[in-house]
Symmetry: C2
Subunit: 260 residues, 2 copies
């Protein structure tokens, strides 16, 4: 199945654009999980059980797993195994390096862990991006316009060609998407005006839209600004941190229902 077919199929089953962000912080888990052999994995499984009929996608923010030390590999691998096969998985890695190194990252996240899609930082240009674009069944979401306030430092800079840097990045990603239709763009939900303009600029690209919930974006604004484009809307803390009590999974489900 191509990357686009995977998204379509997952969204037909979930009837939603919702991606649940498994940004699972082992320092902030509900007390009830403390005695589990692998508390992060136990948490992820409970969240997946509680939300898998609502979500088209799960996104693992890799920072939290790298910070889990010895259990990095086991926890990522076992979480991915537990996610029902028709649901998309995204490795939020934001990597990008010289070609030989990007090849190694591609091996780690597209083959070894076998995420359906990953996020990539485009700053180093095409030869750093190309190793991630070789498989038509693996999506690559490039950072376009990020949801954080300091996106203004560089992403908004005006170029002499009349574009802003994030627009130039978007145009390049459209080119990189041509051969295999496996590229996409990360566009923050906190910037609905720019989201609308980028959707017009890149009508074909799937957008991964973070920043709904804790960061301030709303699902209604996103849906309106995105129009009919293919989009996956990520919510992390707004769902997984809905409660720290025994009811954390039910609370996550209730929260997730407000985002579908």
């Amino acid at each position: 199945m191509t990357f686009l077919e995977k998204i379509k199929s997952a969204q037909e089953k979930s009837r939603s654009m919702l991606c649940v962000g498994l940004d699972t912080d082992h320092h902030k888990l509900p007390d009830i999980l403390r005695t589990e052999p692998n508390p992060v994995l136990a948490f992820n499984k409970a969240i997946i059980d509680a939300t898998s009929d609502l979500a088209c996608c799960y996104k693992l923010q890799m920072a939290y797993y790298e910070a889990y030390g010895e259990r990095f590999y086991e926890t990522v691998q076992s979480t991915l195994e537990y996610i029902p096969k028709h649901i998309l998985t995204i490795g939020d890695v934001k990597r990008g390096d010289i070609g030989a190194t990007s090849e190694k990252y591609a091996y780690a996240y597209q083959e070894m862990f076998a995420f359906d899609a990953i996020t990539i930082n485009p700053l180093m240009g095409f030869d750093a991006a190309e190793p991630f674009l070789r498989r038509e069944d693996r999506g690559v979401f490039f950072l376009g316009l990020t949801s954080n306030p300091s996106a203004r430092d560089f992403e908004y800079l005006e170029l002499t060609n009349g574009k802003k840097l994030y627009e130039e990045i978007t145009d390049k990603v459209c080119e990189w998407n041509e051969p295999k239709k496996n590229a996409g763009l990360v566009v923050g939900a906190t910037k609905p005006h720019e989201l609308r303009a980028l959707r017009a600029r890149a009508p074909e690209l799937p957008f991964l839209i973070p920043g709904v919930g804790t960061q301030g974006g709303t699902i209604e604004e996103v849906k309106e600004a995105n129009g009919k484009g293919i989009a996956i809307v990520n919510v992390s803390r707004g769902i997984i941190a809905a409660s720290k009590g025994k009811d954390f999974a039910e609370a996550a489900r209730r929260a997730a229902m407000t985002f579908v």
Copy 2:
């Protein structure tokens, strides 16, 4: 010890700017190591034994360790433990994410693994960079001008303020360096003309200079272009891939001697 004191002390002992890049690919190890319980760790130890009097620094390209799967944590941790304490360690991670996530990466690489310095991608701006800049004893090398050909795609773009993007990034990194003097810049050895100009632009910043050897830069050009600035010059494949035979460690030492 501050970050700058650490560099100074390490370079006084080694009398060199040489950083040996431990980009250890478990698919490309010398045959003689195949029966070792942890072949990557055995390789790293042999390279460290053969070069520790010549190098002021070891840099671990994290992609290779993430691709090592289950052994990620053990291999990084044990390699770091084996490096003599007076030698600097750099985690080449090129991370960068929204604040809460950058905090988690900072925990993983500055606390858990306790690298002396890490590399960071500046694209997302200050709030993504700030969590890495909190400790004066931990250096942060931001990507300034990278050694790959496609650096031209974005890093060289002309801005309406008269600068190129990599110059704007450099100026921001100079600002970010002010409070704790713990920032630095990655500048590719493949661009000696730009290296010279960036050195004039940011005389105080330590530079991490990759791209010598396999990628085409020469140590003589780098030394000349860098002048009297603080610099760490990384060589990876040019040293660790000098031989795939039984003599791989001695060959690495001979190669390293040509870069000091």
